[in-house]
Symmetry: C2
Subunit: 571 residues, 2 copies
Amino acid sequence: MYKMLSYLPITQWLPHYRQGDATQDSLAAVIVTLMLIPQSLAYAMVAGLPPVYGLYASILPLLVYTILGTSKTLSVGPVAVVALMTMETLTEMYPMGSPEYINSASLLAMLSGMVLLFMAIFRLGFLTHFISHPVLSGFMTASGILIIISQTKHLLGVTAQGDNAVELLIHLIQQVPTSNVYTAGIGFGSLIALIMSRRFLSAGLMKIGIASHIAKQIVKLSPVMVMLLCIAIVSFFQLNHDGVRVVGQIPSGLPVLAVPTFSLTDLYTLLPAAIIISLVGFVESASVGQTLAAKRKEKISANQELIALSGANIASAISAGFPVTGGLSRSVVNFDAGASTPLAGALTAVGISITALYFTPLFETLPQSVLAAIIIVAVSSLIDFKAILNVWKESKIDGFSMTITVLGVLLINVEIGIVLGVVSAIFLYIMRTSHPHIAIVGLMPNSQHFRNIARHQVETSSHIVTIRIDESLYFVNAQYLEDKIPQYITQFPAAKHLILMCSGVNDVDVSALDSLKKIISDLSERDVVVHLSEVKGPVMDKLIHCHFLEMLTGDVYMDQFTAYQSIKIKV
Amino acid sequence: MYKMLSYLPITQWLPHYRQGDATQDSLAAVIVTLMLIPQSLAYAMVAGLPPVYGLYASILPLLVYTILGTSKTLSVGPVAVVALMTMETLTEMYPMGSPEYINSASLLAMLSGMVLLFMAIFRLGFLTHFISHPVLSGFMTASGILIIISQTKHLLGVTAQGDNAVELLIHLIQQVPTSNVYTAGIGFGSLIALIMSRRFLSAGLMKIGIASHIAKQIVKLSPVMVMLLCIAIVSFFQLNHDGVRVVGQIPSGLPVLAVPTFSLTDLYTLLPAAIIISLVGFVESASVGQTLAAKRKEKISANQELIALSGANIASAISAGFPVTGGLSRSVVNFDAGASTPLAGALTAVGISITALYFTPLFETLPQSVLAAIIIVAVSSLIDFKAILNVWKESKIDGFSMTITVLGVLLINVEIGIVLGVVSAIFLYIMRTSHPHIAIVGLMPNSQHFRNIARHQVETSSHIVTIRIDESLYFVNAQYLEDKIPQYITQFPAAKHLILMCSGVNDVDVSALDSLKKIISDLSERDVVVHLSEVKGPVMDKLIHCHFLEMLTGDVYMDQFTAYQSIKIKV
């Protein structure tokens, strides 16, 4: 029973819910709701869906996360990158916005929920660790660029297509002359207003005497204010009759609950995308949740988060939504607004429900170019060229896998981009281990410590050569060792003893043991005895298990100093 | 000029060629030729080609290898595994034995030669190191089983098909009642004769006074003797009119030299198979070459071997052959027969040419079931269940990737089998590094050496905790460290200093540095100072380059003992 309840974190915090919590949660919910309305409409557009589906994806998932989630401030719902991946997956199957397309979006959320549940059951959350920080950062920046390019067409009111970011950009530039002047005016006007309010509004409000934290909250509401202003302008001048594309009539009311229809072929086709969306969505959500929790000295449970996100996606699927996850910007707003428990999320869901029930007529004259402007400003925070430059400065190898990711996203598509990034990072890591750093070491003066003879002034003996291999010994570098170690010994013609100092050897496998055996028998013909020193516990266990010590010509020493001293006395 | 000549190893040994060499090489060539005739006919059958193409693939490639190769005893030509891979690749494209099929076999050799040349130019020979010993051994055993199953149909004279080894076996068993009694009689008779001669002939010959080394050579010729005997039986009883399938009429003469015809689509389709064939072929050839060279204290050059095999395959392609490589059994025979220089290979080519010119009428009544028996006996040496069992005993992880390979080959196909094996071995290695072994260490009595407190009686201090992480720190384990290290510190409430002993840390990347920074700032809030000890040169270079030391709360010590002593005085 207790075990059961541990899967429902709400049972831990709800009984202690206090009056003060309610005040804080309500305030945060109001602010997040006002921010989420334009954002959810906009991200539905990124996903290639009619805007109202963004509202649908922002109700049930939030309620479910409130029950299952372990982060007190994470705000779950549609996010930019996941919406982009949804769009890229579905446009290859159905015409954008068609009933099949809409149904498949829900199906993708359903599958995504299943994948996350599978990951939770089999404790596969660690799979997300395969996405390195540079790959993730390259992925985010490239996705941001791709979203901006793809939204610019809505900003200008033109149609542009392309199989990748570059093609799209070229087509977009060619189409500029066909843009609608009112649409572009509203779009760029909104864009400038949003950028200005980000830059200067808070300082301006503080100047006229408004407290800093309130000024900050007001800035967060600028998208909703710009949206309302544009609705008013379009309605007043009837610009929708002059070619300004608007959201149009949408049904009032809550989404109808239903399991999306599917065939086995659909599942099979969507599964790869669902896996990648789940991994990327979980990485984003977990890192946001963790960062915010750490700020308040709280903790989140990675595995329970998988369950919570699984639940949120399944909830989204059965309420006509699309894949959701924990989003950075909204969660930060929720956190800053002082959300005290996950109930803030449930209250936000209530706010969005009210909007869906009563305020949808408002969006009839909402121009799509305003939503595009809101997206462009929101995703611009994903783009971080400075971080990219820093990675290059710090490490060429990390820089390389990051660049592969960026190019993959921009020249092929988001899924291929992240897969290429992960695979190249792993390949480069394996490559590094294939040519391990090998040092000939000697005794540091006045110590029992041994160091590289090439870097330090150390004591050596002409009869004893000590080689330190700085890598686990395994199949990828086994042949390299077989080639290199005898070569090293050839440089010391007087050598009678080779000590392999194993402080850097964290593991050995069957292939490496084969190679070591060959090295030992090769050296034994040259009358060189092979010893081991500083073999770690787990490696020693393996050597014993594989009867390796029986064919070792020398001895195994606990530490290098003892090895050196003992052998020195003998020769 | 000198550089140019280094690509032609023949220029180094031919000028010193002596009379004695010629005698030895000629003798070896005669023995290998007699062994190669039935083998090459048989392997052509494995490759799905008319038998005579096996002779074609055993002429020009041998001459080219004589000029380019660095092994003195390697015998290049058709081999079982490569023939099997050729067949599996081509049967998916064309009906077996059709003109398109035959042309594509040459094309595959051509592409394989190109891939090997590419690998030589870009020094990619190390890619073969990605195939671990257990994966290779599983691959060889499974390929041997697959070849035996597929040849049993020729042995019985039935037709059987299947997409994988299991389906083929089931179909084969169902077809047993349709088998031709003469065919099966000849097949099983040959099989028993070959097995018996392997087991008992050499001992029998020695009993009647024949010297051991000569007896051994005679045993090697038993396939050709069995073949001649069966040709005689079939001719005499005219069994080819009673349903015994024979090789039939084949044109006398040398192959016509021509570049295989191709389209871009062909190249594109064949390329993946060509890459895998090249890698597997090179691994087999290089390991045979290396083993034999080591026995005579000679060396082979891996990169020159790539060039030589590339040349041999291109030569095979333009002389109507199929992919070739250095084969184990033939090379061992060549070695045992005393081949002294690569000229033995060229003389073997002359022997095969004479056969193609004058002896092809002999094969008209050669029953296919004899060839099947010869193949089955030859490839049975590939099957090594004991090695498979040993790997399982020595290491579960190696055993797992080996089993994946075996299952892949038998249940899917050879190419998928080896790819799955390599990928699973790499994945399992990465998985091991994702949860590194972490030891809390203390000072060993009467030494300056630090060891795991869980394994040894060591001195510790309640204020100083030393953690030794036995792995390179990189993106796959960065998050794990972030979770674990603070947990370890929680177990020591009095801890004021954490020393990270880096003797096992062979590398760090950007992701790991991010995590270390978080750990340091997390611990600094708990008033724990973080120090580093025994940081290796290359890692230290990176820490300095990334300005990591600037945010380290403690110091970096050359060795762990100094770190412990210095901090102990302070607290």
